[in-house]
């Protein structure tokens, strides 16, 4: 993974000192609440319903074991001994004290971490595929490009006060695991017919109140022009994005108002001035950054023998076999696999882990995955590059730590925002809904039979729980001061990205779980062969589901 040089380190250290001084002046009454708000947000600090919340950046979801141990220690010293993994691959502390945040930031800086631009109306953490570098359908490793974007966006002098937050995702594979079409800018790595790398550039995607799938504005941007082109897009947005109404301020609204064609023309016109300028990337910088993402020293293994051994272990241990099915993924290097540690056991808020579990995750990474840890937008943890011969051992240890729930990709692996338990914007709680669903669907055979199913829950229209792109989406709504839930069907985050359709009037919390069960019944009754929930829905439409859920009780 990328390692800071003296310049990277200095910038992060100076940011800590700048923020320390800002906090001091705020506490001394020299900075008003209104002025401090964006200053703290640009350093990841929210003031939430119960306490401040600090969001720590995990650039493109990659961490070292040393960093994970530091997070564990911070959560012990400054918080309540647990942290939350977010849908943007970041980490949140739920109970830090405002006065201590500068010290937390200094601790983070000591392991090459920060909270820069994890919130506020600026360029946020760039995200990508959790299987980058090991996916067999990869065109090119997206991580060096994410790092180049990280450096360019860090404290960018022109774009710190945008109309609204700004999110970029990079997709480097055939299958989309980064939901890149749902970002303000989605960059897809592509090759032209001469085999040169470039980017297919999309803009204006996003969830929130007005969910939109991004539009293509340039099919092939040669790689060296990445930063000047991004500068051009951001400058057009910074100047012309709506600043009067925060609900109309995302770039998607501007793209729609102008049409993608006109928007593209404006960007190209701006880019004419910047193209081939000094920010143009050179080969040596691209190679320098790439050199941090080289393959580890893989051993050569006798694949056939390893697979036979795994099969016999699976035959002997049903639970291991389930875990292999759901939590283990092949990778392009034979003899190795990527495993997902589930942060969604029933009874725990999705994405939450304790300090002790973090230490164990760091140990597992040191032992089995070259000391590297990846966070996912589904709020789980991936260890890549695990020798298949060590899977059984790893599984036993993960199980003991409560990290081996074999539910990845199932209904119980839901994405869920913090909701009304923590978030001051919420209309309704989301964590208790997630838990009720996990408790209801605790029969593993049934859950496996349902197969791949994405269920996403957001506590309000801001859609942090990505409800629009769940095969089943649940949205908390406020009805005369009471918490109700709207159900949506048919969303998808993949290349065939689609936004869910509202099923019907909203339901009380008690009715949600029963209704989900009815939806699943309709699916099971109607599916053909191995057809997934999403495919069945796409084939038969929403009516049958609607009828069942809203049928008068008999």
């Amino acid at each position: 993974m990328y390692i800071y040089d003296q310049y990277d380190q200095k910038i992060v250290d100076e940011r800590v000192e700048q923020y320390r001084d800002q906090t001091k002046r705020y506490l001394d009454g020299q900075i008003s609440d209104e002025e401090f708000l964006p200053l703290r947000l640009q350093n990841g600090l929210y003031v939430q319903r119960l306490a401040p919340m600090l969001r720590i950046a995990v650039p493109y979801g990659l961490m070292s074991s040393r960093q994970v141990r530091k997070i564990a220690a911070i959560s012990r010293t400054y918080d309540k001994g647990y942290v939350h993994f977010t849908t943007r691959q970041n980490i949140q502390l739920n109970w830090p004290v405002l006065e201590e945040v500068p010290d937390i930031l200094a601790e983070l800086a000591s392991v090459e971490m920060h909270a820069i631009q994890t919130s506020g109306n600026c360029i946020r953490n760039t995200t990508t595929d959790q299987f980058a570098g090991v996916a067999s359908d990869e065109i090119e490793d997206p991580r060096p490009w994410c790092e180049i974007i990280r450096q360019w966006s860090t404290l960018h002098p022109e774009f710190a006060f945008l109309p609204r937050k700004f999110k970029i995702a990079v997709c480097g594979s055939e299958e989309d695991r980064a939901a890149f079409l749902l970002h303000d800018i989605g960059l897809q790595l592509v090759k032209n017919d001469r085999g040169e790398t470039g980017f297919h550039v999309y803009v204006g995607g996003g969830l929130g109140r007005t969910p939109v799938i991004a539009s293509s504005i340039r099919e092939f941007l040669p790689k060296e022009h990445l930063l000047t082109y991004l500068d051009a897009i951001l400058r057009v947005y910074n100047r012309y994005g709506n600043r009067d109404n925060k609900y109309k301020a995302r770039i998607k609204i501007l793209v729609r108002a102008w049409t993608p064609e006109v928007f593209a023309k404006r960007v190209e016109a701006e880019w004419e001035h910047l193209k081939d300028g000094p920010a143009t990337l050179n080969g040596s910088e691209i190679e320098r950054v790439k050199s941090f993402f080289t393959a580890p020293d893989y051993l050569s293994v006798d694949s056939a023998a390893v697979d036979a051994e795994l099969q016999s272990q699976a035959a002997e241990h049903k639970a291991f076999s389930r875990w292999l099915d759901r939590n283990v993924r092949a990778q392009k290097q034979s003899g190795y696999a990527s495993i997902t540690l589930s942060l969604k056991p029933a009874g725990v808020a999705p994405g939450d882990v304790t300090d002790r579990q973090l230490d164990i995750i760091a140990d597992l990474a040191d032992r089995y995955s070259f000391g590297e840890i990846r966070t996912t937008h589904n709020q789980n943890i991936v260890l890549a590059d695990v020798l298949k011969t060590e899977l059984f051992e790893l599984w036993q240890q993960a199980k003991e730590a409560g990290l081996a729930t074999p539910n990845i990709g199932t209904i119980n692996d839901m994405i869920c925002c913090p909701g009304g338990d923590y978030c001051s914007l919420a209309n309704a709680k989301s964590i208790p809904v997630a838990e009720a669903i996990q408790r209801k669907f605790d029969d593993l055979d049934y859950v496996y039979d349902l197969g791949d199913l994405e269920l996403n829950i957001s506590g309000c229209m801001n859609a942090c729980g990505h409800h629009h792109i769940g095969h089943i989406g649940i949205l908390g709504v406020d009805k005369k001061g009471e918490e109700w839930y709207q159900i949506q069907l048919g969303g998808s985050a993949n290349k065939d990205a689609a936004l869910g359709k509202v099923l019907g009037r909203s339901l009380s919390r008690d009715a949600v779980v029963d209704s989900i069960e009815k939806l699943l019944d309709v699916y099971v009754e109607n599916r053909l062969d191995q057809e997934s929930f999403l495919n069945t829905y796409q084939r038969i439409g929403i009516e049958k589901f609607k009828e069942r859920v809203y049928a008068p009780a008999s």
């Binding site: 310049y7 964006p38 109306n121 960018h156 002098p157 710190a160 006060f161 910074n238 000094p278 910088e285």
Partner: protein
């Protein structure tokens, strides 16, 4: 906007201010050095040529500088207004003035910006800061040095960090 504070920051020093800002709705011009709204300047160039003091303009954050940038290039001062400190358009306007239109005079921030924005503003080409509120200018000056280096190309540093150090 504060129209005539006694002092402001220029080139990292506290200096006396001789310039009066003329509000958009103002009907008469004061004597001495004045900063007039850019559209007023465009409409009254002849008359302003006879003004007793120096003349500069101020631009609001939403204005399309492409429409008049060429015509104001010789003025000694161009002020850019921040109607709210979170309105970041002025950052782009300043860069365009310096980098695209080659403006070398004083670019002065006026309006609601805050001290903690100074480092980035200077990177975008501002070299003067006229605060609306009464603040300790000498202390604010320190914020110009919040960072000793930066990744990006900007007015103060035309080469990106990767070409200078790597």
């Amino acid at each position: 906007m504060h129209q005539h504070p006694k002092q402001y920051l220029k080139d990292a020093a506290v200096v006396d201010n001789s310039w009066q800002l003329v509000a958009a709705e103002s009907e008469s011009l004061p004597a001495g050095d004045i900063l007039v709204p850019v559209n007023y300047w465009q409409a009254n160039q002849q008359q302003l040529a006879d003004h007793s003091g120096n003349v500069g303009v101020w631009i609001d954050s939403h204005e399309e500088i492409e429409e008049f940038a060429g015509s104001i290039a010789a003025l000694p001062v161009i002020a850019i207004n921040f109607p709210k400190f979170v309105d970041g358009r002025g950052f782009s306007v300043a860069r365009l003035l310096r980098e695209r239109y080659g403006y070398i005079g004083e670019i002065r921030a006026v309006g609601q910006f805050i001290r903690d924005q100074l480092f980035m503003m200077q990177r975008c080409g501002f070299n003067a800061f006229q605060f609306d509120s009464e603040i300790d200018l000498a202390a604010a000056c320190k914020s110009l040095n919040d960072f000793s280096d930066a990744y990006q190309v900007a007015v103060d540093q035309p080469e990106p960090l990767f070409k200078r150090h790597r």
